[in-house]
């Protein structure tokens, strides 16, 4: 079963091409490369550029390239590995990255609401029950939050300063 791409707007075609390190870069198009290849890839102006970080690779290492990047793909080698939640928040809240943040790997339905809150915008999903559930667009989410995470999709609610509700 190959992975399908899902966003808040539903399933979408994946227009990005992952280019392995040993393959030559194309002259144009949207490509995702490893961080090791960013220096080289950013020189090709016709390329729309994304990077795939490996597990444990700190976002600080790509900070200098973020202005050139349209996509950062973060890994979930297992759904229990929560490092990329922090990485996504740092990209959004510390570095002000406004491009696509993509979750790949062990992406499951019950974690997607948490990922959305942390700033992920697209999800490469291969888990069959998750795909079925996403077809219905019905996320298993509690749309009330007890901690602000700097997302514009969330608005203050109630009397306490840290309460948020999903916007819209």
């Amino acid at each position: 079963m190959s992975a399908r791409l899902w966003t808040r707007d539903g399933f979408a075609e994946d227009r990005w091409q992952a280019v392995p390190d040993e393959t030559a870069l194309p002259g144009e198009g949207a490509v995702i490369v490893s961080s090791a290849r960013l220096e080289e890839a950013r020189e090709t102006n016709a390329l729309e550029l994304g990077v795939a970080l490996e597990p444990g690779e700190p976002v600080e290492d790509i900070a200098e390239h973020l202005s050139r990047l349209s996509l950062v793909s973060l890994p979930f080698p297992a759904f229990t590995d929560g490092r990329s939640y922090s990485a996504a928040r740092l990209l959004r809240e510390r570095y002000g990255f406004e491009g696509e943040i993509r979750a790949r790997g062990d992406v499951l339905i019950d974690q997607i609401p948490l990922m959305l809150r942390c700033g992920f915008t697209s999800f490469l999903v291969s888990h069959e029950p998750t795909l079925r559930r996403l077809e219905t667009r019905d996320l298993p989410e509690v749309p009330l939050y007890l901690q602000p995470v700097g997302s514009e999709r969330e608005v203050p609610v109630g009397t306490r300063p840290w309460l948020r509700r999903r916007a819209g």
Binding site: T80, Y85, C118, P140, L146, Q147
Partner: protein, 556 residues
């Protein structure tokens, strides 16, 4: 007590709906057990040896009488008529069926309770001093901050899949009854130069396989920065904590391997970025939360406790109970009462549904309807009039809850052990019961004085054996239950990790061994005022080891 507003009620109801859906998908086979596991764990549902176990959060150990009655009702309706109070101030039901759990959670939501984050690799129920708001030695109420932390940590999107579980404890008194240095984060509320509130923060404490005491990361964090500082610690841990080995995944290992200086540097750098942002805690907001924890309407002025003195003179058993099970209160004429869940020969921490109802009734009659759970697995009535103690004692005695052994040798802490737990190597409960019977004589217990026995059925140390004056650890030796003894542990402001005294004992031998240790202490103490722990710290382990294994063992 904290009261839910509309937001909290809706939040918990949504959560119940979310989990009901997850249970439905599990039963329908859409989720594998492996995928369901982290979801059920975040709702307190464990798979034990014989059945599912549901762990219910009792935030910082505080319960109303209404909530206690609901727990009794659940015990009767969905379980076998009892519940088990744990060392984390929570309650466990051992026999619910998975199909019933959504209904149980719905019932809990009706009384502002839930099971969120009582397990899983997330921020667990925040614990606090069980005498909060009552004890004479308190300088600030830890419940206010424990509640704020409870809220901030609930379904935190960044910190729901940490390397391992994460526990926070808060104290605001000079005696640390919350064992803060045995937690991933320990908070000691302090007053700064201008009396302003702040926190001394310890990080990297924990028991389990590699027991460690928390190390001070900051001697003063201002009140308004509390959540920002916690978020900084959690982020550093989430990013850099080990994930390759679950036994090395707690933050204590990260602190140990990298050194507290290096962790401090990272946390401070993170804190500098977050500080003053959305997590800023304004004083008005802290005060608003604090109003939930306002003192109950005490009768003002000194109250003559003549009735109490008279009753104590008449009834020696009552006098012993008062001496052991009451605690100095900040309000004149009042006291706090420990309701021992350690009857002689009983299961530590267990309470029957009828007993829960009795405690709720007594709390309503005498204690402003308020109840606490202590990490020693006892219940507390935090605010009662001294002159009401005779009636309270009588009512407790009727419910078989009047054991006057708080802090004595039979006030044993024990994990569920191999009788229930899938992780255990050995049984804990029968050892606790036999020890309790061995030392049943209350006069003998009083002669021995303050000593804590803590029993864990495996290396995960849920019975906190590392911080027992006498710790007992169950191990499996070639299919047989064996028990290793540690000495000199302590959980409080003078915390220490117990040391293994020598080779282990069989289930048959271990009770005799403990008695030998106790007798050795009696023989060697300078006077009855020198406690077991003080004597051990003076004498070292040698005389105890000699008593257990003979002097010849020293040469070996």
């Amino acid at each position: 007590m904290y009261r839910y507003d509309e937001f909290d009620a809706e939040f918990v109801n949504d959560r119940v709906a979310q989990f009901s859906d997850q249970v439905r998908r599990r039963i329908a086979g859409e989720l594998t057990e492996e995928q369901f596991k982290p979801l059920r764990l975040m709702n307190g549902v464990y798979l034990q040896l014989h059945a599912y176990m549901l762990r219910i959060a009792i935030p910082y150990g505080t319960l109303s009488s209404t909530q206690m009655r609901k727990l009794a009702h659940i015990a009767r309706t969905y379980d076998k008529g009892y519940g088990h109070f744990t060392t984390r101030q929570n309650l466990q039901f051992n026999w619910p069926s998975l199909e019933d759990i959504p209904a149980i959670l719905q019932e809990l939501a009706e009384v502002e309770m839930h099971a969120i984050q009582t397990s899983g690799n997330c921020i667990r129920n925040t614990t606090a001093d069980h005498l909060a708001g009552a004890s004479a030695d308190e300088h600030a109420d830890p419940r206010v901050y424990a509640e704020i932390i409870r809220q901030w940590s609930s379904l935190h999107p960044e910190f729901s899949f940490l390397p391992r579980k994460f526990k926070v404890a808060v104290t605001g008194a000079s005696t640390d009854r919350a064992a803060i240095r045995a937690h991933d984060i320990g908070l000691e509320i302090r007053r700064g130069e201008n009396r302003q509130i702040g926190f001394r923060i310890f990080v990297g404490g924990g028991l389990g396989r590699t027991p460690m005491l928390g190390k001070e990361i900051r001697d003063f964090v201002e009140e308004r920065d509390l959540l920002a500082y916690l978020e900084a610690i959690l982020r550093v841990y989430n990013r850099w904590g080990r994930r390759d080995n679950k036994y090395k995944a707690r933050i204590k290992i990260l602190v140990h391997e990298r050194g507290i200086e290096s962790i401090r540097e990272e946390v401070e750098a993170e804190f500098a970025e977050i500080r003053g942002g959305a997590l800023d805690l304004p004083q008005e907001e802290r005060q608003r939360i604090a109003r939930y924890f306002a003192p109950p309407p005490f009768e003002e002025g000194p109250i003559d406790a003549a009735r109490l003195t008279e009753a104590m003179a008449k009834d020696p058993a009552f006098a012993v109970w008062v001496e052991r099970n009451t605690h100095a209160h900040k309000q004149p004429g009042y006291t706090s009462v420990t309701i021992s869940l350690k009857p002689i020969g009983g299961v530590p921490g267990d309470a029957k549904a009828d007993q829960m109802d009795s405690v709720a009734d007594i709390a309503d009659r005498f204690a402003f309807g308020e109840i606490r759970v202590s990490h020693e697995q006892n219940l507390i009535l935090p605010h009662v009039k001294k002159n009401d103690l005779p009636e309270i004692y009588a009512a407790l005695a009727e419910a078989k809850l009047a054991t006057g052994n708080r802090g004595l040798v039979t006030d044993i802490i024990a994990c569920p052990g191999l009788d229930y737990c899938a992780l255990a190597n050995a049984r804990s409960i029968p050892i606790a019961q036999r020890l309790s019977e061995r030392f049943a004589d209350i006069e003998r217990q009083r002669e021995i004085g303050d000593v804590s026995i803590k029993i864990s059925g495996c290396i995960n140390a849920c019975g906190h054996h590392h911080v027992g004056h006498i710790g007992i650890l169950g191990v499996d030796r070639k299919g047989e239950e064996f028990y290793q003894i540690t000495l000199g542990g302590a959980p409080g402001e003078d915390a220490s990790i117990g040391e293994i005294v020598g080779k282990g004992f069989s289930a048959d031998e271990v009770v005799d061994a403990v008695e030998t240790l106790v007798d050795t202490y009696i023989r060697l103490r300078t006077d009855p005022k020198e406690s077991f722990l003080t004597a051990y710290r003076r004498l070292g382990e040698a005389p105890f080891r000699d008593a257990l294994y003979g002097e010849a063992s020293r040469a070996a």
